[in-house]
Assembly symmetry: D2
Homo-oligomer: 344 residues x 4
């Protein structure tokens, strides 16, 4: 059993972490923080947890958090940077579900997030927490930057193509669709049911914060050569799920693409390569940590279409964070995440 703390337990990634952690056999949930809800039982805000925990929100304190083996940050960008140095100094390992430790180029971080990066030294040792890419380094990491939801779906979908060098990496198009929970639990007019349901629209089409994170991951797979990527996110009238529709031009049309993907992911528990020409639905992975991928080659032309789906709150956030925790502490990678997706 390890002692675990959660900073920022009121948002959707926070409650999703709690949904998994309260029944994780190796986890003792020691502290859940919220400045605004201090003293309130977590289960009052999230009644689905009533039968599982009596823990109350507390204000984040270095002393209490330092008693944990691991602290998750499910906070807006900027928050994790403040507390991480002291916690690390006290021997606490960190998984940040926010954006502070995702982008190695801290100038790029500042450009997109509009604040100074105050942990440049820690960034030097931080590991980007995409297990399918960095599993070995995650094992011993002190600080893990948990990937964003779009970057997870897009990178897992593109990696085999880019690593094998069979597509034109300068003309990638990622048309992505996300459920509304990706926008978080803050009270905003735009995500009211009456605004976001029965409608579909793009947003941030001219530039979205996940773009530099995606390009960083794809460039890494591309032998550190930049890729050319157009990324357009869309808001979809549903709670959970991301569907990435990925387009690329084949430079080699003779490769067996299905074989390429099946072999690339054959040892990955949470990546499911479906039969060629199938259509994964986001509901296939709802509430689970799985990523489903399928391939299409319309009219047998030189355009490859990759369909990649995840649950944005699980593999796109809390589930991947627990997967990283399991790796960091030597638990089987799917511990605490053994249930199938909920369908229907």
């Amino acid at each position: 059993m390890i002692n675990v703390g959660l900073v920022g337990g009121t948002g959707y990634t926070g409650v999703e972490l709690l949904r998994i952690l309260v029944q994780h056999p190796e986890v003792n949930l020691k502290v859940v923080t919220s400045r605004g809800e201090e003293g309130k039982p977590v289960a009052d805000m999230y009644p689905n947890l009533r039968p599982y925990t009596d823990i109350c929100f507390s204000v984040p304190q270095l002393e209490t958090l330092s008693e944990c083996d691991l602290v998750f940050f499910a906070t807006p960008h900027g928050v994790a940077m403040e507390m991480t140095p002291d916690l690390v100094a006290n021997g606490v390992r960190i998984i940040d579900l926010g954006a502070d430790f995702r982008i190695y180029d801290t100038d790029e971080y500042s450009k997109w997030y509009g604040i100074e990066h105050t942990c440049k030294d820690i960034m030097a040792e931080t590991i980007y927490g995409l297990p399918e890419v960095n599993r070995e380094q995650i094992k011993d990491a002190r600080v893990v930057g948990n990937p964003g939801c779009y970057p997870t779906a897009v990178q897992l979908g593109y990696l085999p193509l880019i690593k094998s060098g069979v597509v034109d990496t300068q003309n990638l198009i990622a048309d992505c669709k996300s459920g509304v929970s990706g926008a978080g639990r803050q009270a905003k007019v735009g995500t009211l049911l009456c605004e976001a349901s029965e409608s579909f629209s793009a947003y941030g089409a001219s530039g979205h914060r996940h773009l530099p994170e995606i390009k960083q991951g794809l460039a890494f797979a591309n032998q550190n050569k930049d890729v050319g990527l157009t990324f357009v996110p869309h808001l979809t009238p549903m709670i959970r799920g991301i569907h990435a529709t990925l387009y690329a031009k084949l430079t080699d049309t003779n490769v067996d693409l299905q074989k390429l993907y099946e072999e690339f992911y054959q040892d990955e528990h949470f990546v499911d390569v479906m039969p060629f020409g199938s259509h994964p639905a986001t509901r296939n992975v709802k509430g689970s940590n799985f990523n489903q991928i399928s391939l299409h080659r319309p009219q047998d032309g030189d355009t490859i279409v990759v369909l990649s789906v995840i649950d944005n709150l699980v593999k796109g956030a809390a589930g991947q964070a627990v997967q990283n925790m399991n790796i960091m502490f030597g638990f089987p990678e799917h511990t605490g995440m053994t249930q199938p997706a909920m369908l229907p």
Copy 2:
């Protein structure tokens, strides 16, 4: 480990049973039948199960099913009656999620379901599988009639009031709302997304098949005296969940109703009595086997309002069936159902 069979694995209660059973630590899933889908992998129809099972649908055969310790029927009414006698004779225990073994009065059954009851002898030993009422008899039952979704929500909500004799049992009103999955997976115009979403309506207001089942259970609680009940079900534009709003006239206005409910259910793992005056939402129990109940007494008058919510596919069907299985085979009652509801 017990060997378990499922007859009728293609409907929503069937896939929900599979979602629970594929990761139940005491269950070996031996056979899943479907006449229409013979030979097809179950996971082709339900891709959420791809990482969990390779089992294929087979046609129901007495021989194969007889190798099971327990067989679930998730079939339309009439089907379970055909095979149950032979299976019981072969020592197989039965849990029927359909209607065949719910109503002890077989004439009443025929009146509402329009077919002859062909297992009258077996009905004599059948146990109505509401664990909170019949736990002891369920332990040794050979045949369990798993309750309907509305009857579960309504009975659990009314039982403490009726058993304690504090309400007028001749003027009960149960206004119930169900998600669309209650209507099943058959292709019907009425449950198309374009028909059932963004709309709300009652159905069967003049008489619904769950009425006799509810009245049977409430009469049993009422020392076998009939109750007067008006039951109006409504179709709600969501996938899962039942919300029962129950009205009754208090004949004793001095009783501590909250205390009555908390004590009545204090030993029940799956019944959660919420604070007086709260409002349980169906999402609090989505995907879980819990029933949440709260009480209201508008303007401190003599009308008591009970709010009772369940997931119609779990506590209203598959989860309650697994709860019954756990009781029948001596497993802890919540085995295989340890995860919190999925919120959001």
Copy 3:
């Protein structure tokens, strides 16, 4: 053509009024006010109006509003009371879609809305704007209090029963379900898509502000004798629509209830009595000003069930307000509201 002003054009009742008014053949839309959005084109906030109007939000000013023949208030309670006296003094007629002019008993108003009523003199001449009840008085009214959404659906459903004296008026139960737009356009966590969709719950079960308004209307129909009413509202995961399920005990079981309703509403353009035993769906009236009603008598007992549906934003707010305007200015009652409901 009449000059019309709208105070509070940013909420859902405001935009619904604009949707009707911009193509109303007798209306010249002169001013739309919003303190927060001054100078912004209305169509920037509501792009569905882009092809229809260039009008911009302005701050409410007595001078400008006084140039109107009619001013609608689509504002939170309290706002209309402030400006109405001066506007009436300047000869402007008023329709308040808020609550300020609905409840004749100003003490009752203060009790439920928590503020002093500052227009007691004007209340003396105010007409409650339910055309099916007060059409004649509305014609010459200077100030009309436009009914709330629940009160419209419940009163229209109960009126024939109560006026004809065939039910026990001391034991009425109104179980009501509303779409989320009834909660308005303010940014609140509770009405986010991720909170309100895929879930169903009651709210205000112990007491809701529409209760005194409903009881006032039913008492008026009951020869000014109070009625006993239990009213429980529920939040339904859809944008528009109210479904009222109304229960009453028949004191006379020989009356032809269907005939009673058909004759009672035979001259009403916007009330549609459906065949006995049918089930109106809220989508049948979505976007229209119609109210559909049907009757049920379960098991031919002494309980009558009335199903009454409206679009909460139209007959429950903006459409009824335009209906009142048409009556006040002598236009055919359905002018500007000639389109059928949008189905699907």
Copy 4:
């Protein structure tokens, strides 16, 4: 007033046509046919029409239909081909909302629709009913092939780019999202609420019947040179709306794209070019015949992104058909379609 008939009145495009036609000032609705529903009042199937028409479904007969000035076909492909020759011979003008008269190359039609084209002679005089392209020819057309929903959204979005020759027409990508009503009203498992809501997926990614229609229109705009197009449709959990996200490589990066679009559509009543960089939502046009378009140029690169939204049942089907009718009979083009979209 003209006499109008509708063949196939039971589907969603049929009822949408009726929603518009029953209040169209120039239309006398003479006959609505359905073989399956003969004799049944149309309003029994579509209760939103109860206050508007008593017309009953009848079986399609040449004699009755020949009394009409215009007959709409809202039928599956193949049906319109059967009756059109005789009706045309009797002087009846035809608008087919199905696919029979959309594709000039009848071999291509047969390849995608799997049936012989039996009206090759009539195809020679048929006009493809996209008013923004063929308005002049539509005026005198005897037979109009009403465009499909995807082809309307994609063509209107791409036309200015292709006609002006500023993009690489060999590498177009159209990522399209449709509401579920596009799949029609047939009872199919895939479009049940429990299958299609709270999920998102692509379909027909390897080839969809609308592809040849889109390529025909774009080639026509491209001086009859073929275009290279990848078209991936997706099913979106909402009733109405199509959102086309269109990608193209600029061959000329100096052109003022916004000016190009605004001038191209300056005289089009139903095409609304929004400000550069905005994001049209499908709800902006729900229930209306408008098409909203906006442009993006991510990171000021050489990729142009066009966002084009319509209501698939209106501008994508019934509304465009009425627009064509208005053109054919000399009515103002927006007659009967004067209401703004319904928002929320």
